[in-house]
Symmetry: C2
Subunit: 324 residues, 2 copies
């Protein structure tokens, strides 16, 4: 910066100003400085800038899994929206473990981020304490909370589970089952589904639960297990479209008709859900909007705006297609 300044015949401060507050520099000086920057190929040092200004321009994001579309599909618009606001994102993967999450939060905090995105609302108490104590703007996404750390953008997994149960009744199915991943939010939907079914007069549905990440393989295996345990002629509610797709493939391999013999409902409306054969009935969650609104909410908090709305509900929608 000193070099650029000499080349432009100004002081080093003026270069800094030209970069950060170009309106506070005479147009002609500005041009000279910009030319000098070009000539020298000067690259500003944001680390030094961050230290001096106490604004790191960094946002930390923690998601359970990068390779899981559920999460990467809201992370993408989040990164994009924060980038347009001048922020860069440091990403960490928690693998669904609150303990690892806590360690990562701690380590990320030392980067002096200006905000943080957390997936879900279940964190270790130490983690909550650190975040609360730091006063850092935090947005929790993909779930809803009565007591968010700061702001929360998501939807009610409980209500989503109930909505599926009501849909099952509306469509007149008499038998129902569940195939689910083992994460807290999926299990909550499963519990709500079972509770609502029961209150509608159904027997408690058989449940197959997997601790491994949701996959087509698990979906196939899940249907196999249900059939072996005597399940037939009913609807299966899956905790993800991927599991549902697996169920469809297994049904097809066994020559079972869908939705005639086995009906299937997915969750989240991934882009392929409309294009399976038959097309997949599912719960749609607008992850693009969720990512954007999470960014908006966090940026507002960083800008110091009062958090009038600490809880944003992006809702969900039951999508009726052919599979159930």
């Amino acid at each position: 910066m000193e070099m650029v300044a000499r080349l432009a015949g100004v002081s080093q401060v003026s270069v800094s100003r030209a970069l950060n507050h170009p309106d506070k520099v005479a147009p002609e000086t500005l041009a000279r400085i910009q030319e000098a920057i070009r000539a020298t190929g000067y690259v500003p040092n944001l680390v030094a800038g961050a230290l001096a200004s106490r604004r790191s321009g960094i946002i930390a994001a923690l998601i359970p899994s990068i390779t899981n579309l559920t999460y990467s599909s809201f992370l993408r618009p989040f990164i994009e929206a924060t980038r347009l606001a001048g922020y860069q994102v440091i990403l960490a993967e928690t693998g669904f473990s609150p303990d690892d999450e806590q360690i990562m939060v701690q380590s990320l905090l030392s980067r002096q981020p200006e905000g943080m995105l957390l997936t879900g609302v279940h964190h270790s108490s130490e983690c909550r304490r650190m975040l609360l104590g730091s006063g850092l703007p935090v947005v929790e996404v993909w779930d809803e909370s009565e007591t968010p750390i700061d702001v929360c953008v998501g939807f009610s997994h409980w209500e989503a589970g109930r909505a599926v149960a009501r849909y099952v009744q509306k469509k007149g199915y008499t038998r129902a089952a569940v195939i689910t991943a083992g994460d807290m939010r999926a299990l909550r939907r499963k519990d709500a589904f079972a509770a609502e079914l029961t209150s509608l007069g159904y027997p408690s549905p058989p449940v197959v639960s997997f601790d491994t990440p949701a996959s087509i393989a698990n979906g196939r295996d899940g249907l196999k297990q249900l059939l072996e345990n005597g399940f037939s002629n009913g609807v299966i509610s899956c905790s993800s479209d991927l599991l549902a797709h697996g169920v469809m493939i297994e049904a097809q391999a066994r020559g079972l008709t869908i939705p005639g013999e086995i009906a299937v409902i997915g969750f989240s409306d991934q882009d392929f859900a409309a294009h399976t054969f038959p097309s997949l009935s599912t719960i749609r969650v607008d992850r693009l909007s969720l990512g954007r609104r999470a960014a908006e909410a966090l940026l507002a908090r960083i800008a110091g705006k009062p958090a009038e709305t600490r809880r944003v509900d992006v809702g969900f929608e039951m999508i009726e297609r052919e599979s159930a």
Copy 2:
């Protein structure tokens, strides 16, 4: 840090030492300092540390798309491996655009990263120039290059395309077609496939190419287009497992048998490929190993080790399953 020092009855420097070089501090003093850190809830400021030490502990990673498993599946082990070495990753998404990539590289460079991961080997010349000029350790992945910027970990897309063609011949198919995404690497495989087929005496295969991201919907549409143009009783080489899966679904919807009437070959062996019905023949690329080795290579360069191997070929493998 000053506070911690006072509490432990030492100087601020000793606290810094206790954190960075614990072996250079008397065990008893170390214990006192650690206790003081715990008591105060002190969180080190890595921004200041980075400025003073000139080591940011940051690695920048650029991938075309976060929501595309092709890329996120090598990014994951890369992030994990670099994390274990004490680094944090700033992620940026280029959307397949070399121009955007260049802008992002420039903006990322000002974070003083210690290394950078780039996807592919095709970059704007300005981008290459900046990186070369900066002397920053760079690893280019998912492709191979005669002239890497620094080090390169990938495989030959040309050879992969040829391998598929030879497989097609070996299996005795007489008609072949291609459905491909529009990115440079997929197109290169397509060209190699067509060239090899031709040299084996086949006619030039019909090609359907999509500019949108590979998807099941595109796969279905691709088969539809091929059939409308008179293609039948042959094998279709797809640039991704997702496209291949779409082809299988469309075939099923039309009552075409696989591989009898339509045979399908995918690319990359995503986890579902072994679990479709019928299972999907494909080219396997070990993305876990690729991510790890990219991290290894980059960390070695950061550690200043001479780059004896500037080019690492992780290879690929033709996986024979039922679909072709």
